[in-house]
């Protein structure tokens, strides 16, 4: 059954979209990640305009993170004060990202910029995860104890002004680093159509030394609010949120995530991280390949957006 998407202005097979949402939902349930980094490129491969894929992606991520964030909040796993700082930064970053997106679209460089962002971040995060998971699998095989993270270490982060007390995280640190991290994630979210958890979680653990128990909940808290703002801004600035497309993806994603979570319970953490790293690197290589290989068609056409630059 084909369905005409009102904003993407194309006719797509609804079953294919449901399947796509389901598959991405399965993987995100399996690995415990948002899945935006898979969904947005897949939508672009499918022929959805890059801007609509990114804008609609933020709406889908909002829907898939809201229930998780609620559950974490109920279990008291959210550092609300830290979350607020992250959100404040995120909103600024998102605003910059959405505005930059409009300018880049006018210049005809948006697709390139998105691809470069994907290659950079997926490449870096994928490589780090791969090294880490291979290392811990090897350590387990050789019977060595897995080293645990040491708390209470001081780094350059602790020398900055505007110190705030984050009770839930048991931290007394400057508000600048969390705001910067939030802003960076908000910017990425707007440009790449991702939640940004894969950058925010490691940054909070390694840079801010937030206890692991509150990291997931607090990052979900940030993602929900920043994604809500991003969806709103994308709708206003770029008119690139397709509600019909998002709803189909949400339905598929919700069902897929249930199966994914069930399947994920049967696998070991290191194995999951290794598979996720491989998947991230595959997506990265695919996008890099498209950038570097001589295109079959060097010309492209598009609508004129708000005057030429």
């Amino acid at each position: 059954m084909n369905i005409y998407l009102p904003i993407a202005e194309m006719s797509v097979n609804a079953a294919l979209l449901l399947g796509l949402g389901g598959a991405v939902g399965f993987l995100s349930g399996l690995f415990g990640v948002g899945g935006g980094f898979l969904l947005t490129p897949l939508l672009i491969f499918l022929g959805v305009p890059t801007s609509v894929a990114v804008g609609t992606g933020s709406m889908q991520i909002l829907a898939s993170s809201v229930s998780g964030a609620m559950a974490q909040y109920r279990r008291n796993n959210v550092d609300v004060k830290m979350g607020m700082v992250l959100v404040a930064g995120g909103v600024v970053g998102s605003f910059i990202g959405v505005s930059l997106m409009r300018i880049l679209r006018q210049m005809g460089q948006f697709e390139l910029f998105v691809s470069l962002c994907y290659v950079t971040f997926l490449g870096a995060v994928g490589a780090l995860m791969l090294i880490e998971s291979v290392g811990s699998i090897q350590r387990q095989r050789s019977g060595q104890p897995v080293p645990t993270r040491q708390t209470g270490q001081h780094s350059w982060v602790h020398g900055l002004p505007f110190k705030m007390r984050f009770h839930r995280s048991k931290l007394y640190i400057s508000a600048v680093p969390p705001a910067m991290i939030g802003a960076f994630v908000g910017f990425m979210a707007a440009i790449m159509g991702v939640g940004g958890g894969f950058v925010m979680v490691p940054a909070m653990i390694y840079l801010l030394r937030v206890p692991t128990s509150v990291v997931i909940g607090t990052s979900l808290f940030q993602i929900v609010f920043v994604m809500a703002v991003t969806t709103l801004l994308q709708a206003i600035e770029n008119k690139s949120v397709d509600v019909v497309l998002a709803l189909i993806l949400i339905v598929g994603g919700v069902v897929g995530a249930q199966f994914g979570a069930a399947a994920g319970g049967k696998l070991k953490g290191e194995q999951l991280r290794f598979m996720l790293a491989a998947l991230v690197l595959l997506v990265c290589l695919r996008i890099a390949w498209d950038l570097m290989v001589t295109p079959a068609e060097i010309f492209s056409i598009g609508p004129l957006i708000g005057g030429t630059l």
């Binding site: 005409y4 229930s67 390139l112 709708a235 998002a246 949400i250 010309f299 598009g302």
Partner: protein, 287 residues
């Protein structure tokens, strides 16, 4: 007697020319009927005219829209063709054109190992859709000058670079952009060529089926029908069909573009509610 005969022939010739040129220049107005000749010397058959219509006047683009086929049909009045063989005597060309829009064409080149857009040109008005159906390939029907005058055929689509866009480009580069636009539109099924797409029925009727793809931009479509004889346009006719959004499709699209802030807010609410609903449904199932 001799003088009046010459005058009569001259009058006839002028009237004929006027009728032909008016048919060629302004397709919007049907060619005026020939004024009755003052002197009835050698009886000339009346001029052929063409009349055409489209199978539908308006088409709705709903969420279920997967494209549509329209039929442009018509008749040649005063056909002088022998019975059942209008095709040997006349040629009919049907051009269906969408609203012109400005578009940007871009060209990639390799910069530091990465392919990126480096050249761009803005065309002021490019038909969003352009289908051409003819009773035989248009090159065999008329010469390039005639085709150019009526914008018949991909090569003769009116497409001008905007203002200062394309300054510094050579003619050959401009031509490459032009043909790229047509090639890409053709690949998207938005520019359609049916060299044998017009069928004659009997000595005066013809029909042509034209496929509108699912990705056709909404708006009015103009169907121009040309009647050719001996490589010249003898008559032309215009019919219209309008594609407009309808149903949920229309509601969503209009809402998104007219009230973007409210639309965004509702998108956020929908996302939050569907996320919460989903978690409720599955918790009940697993609990």
């Amino acid at each position: 007697m001799m003088r009046s005969a010459i005058i009569a022939v001259m009058c006839l010739c002028m009237a004929l020319n006027a009728a032909r040129s008016s048919a060629q220049e302004a397709e919007a107005t049907p060619p005026p009927n020939l004024p009755p000749p003052t002197v009835v010397t050698p009886p000339l058959p009346p001029m052929e005219t063409v009349e055409a219509d489209i199978s539908t006047r308006s088409l709705e683009v709903t969420t279920g829209f997967t494209g549509h086929e329209i039929v442009v049909f018509g008749a040649i009045d005063n056909s002088q063709a022998p019975k059942d063989d209008a095709g040997s005597y006349y040629d009919v060309v049907v051009v269906v054109e969408g609203t012109p829009f400005p578009i940007v064409a871009r060209r990639k080149s390799e910069v530091a190992g990465v392919w990126m857009n480096t050249w761009s040109i803005t065309f002021n008005s490019v038909p969003s859709y352009y289908a051409i159906a003819s009773s035989k390939p248009i090159e065999e029907i008329a010469g390039p000058a005639v085709l150019e005058r009526h914008a018949i055929g991909f090569r003769h689509i009116k497409m001008m670079p905007a203002g200062n866009s394309g300054v510094g480009l050579k003619d050959s580069q401009l031509a490459a952009f032009r043909s790229a636009v047509i090639r890409l539109k053709h690949r998207q099924d938005l520019y359609v060529l049916e060299p044998e797409g017009v069928d004659f029925v009997g000595r005066s009727l013809f029909r042509s089926t034209i496929a509108l793809p699912a990705n056709i931009p909404v708006g009015p479509l103009v169907a121009r029908t040309y009647l050719f004889r001996d490589g010249e346009v003898v008559s032309a006719h215009i019919a219209r069909v309008t594609l407009h959004r309808a149903g949920i499709e229309r509601l969503v699209h209009n809402f998104a573009f007219v009230y973007p802030a409210s639309y965004g807010l509702i998108a956020v609410i929908i996302a939050v509610l569907s996320g919460l609903l989903a978690s409720m449904l599955f918790r009940r199932k697993t609990a």
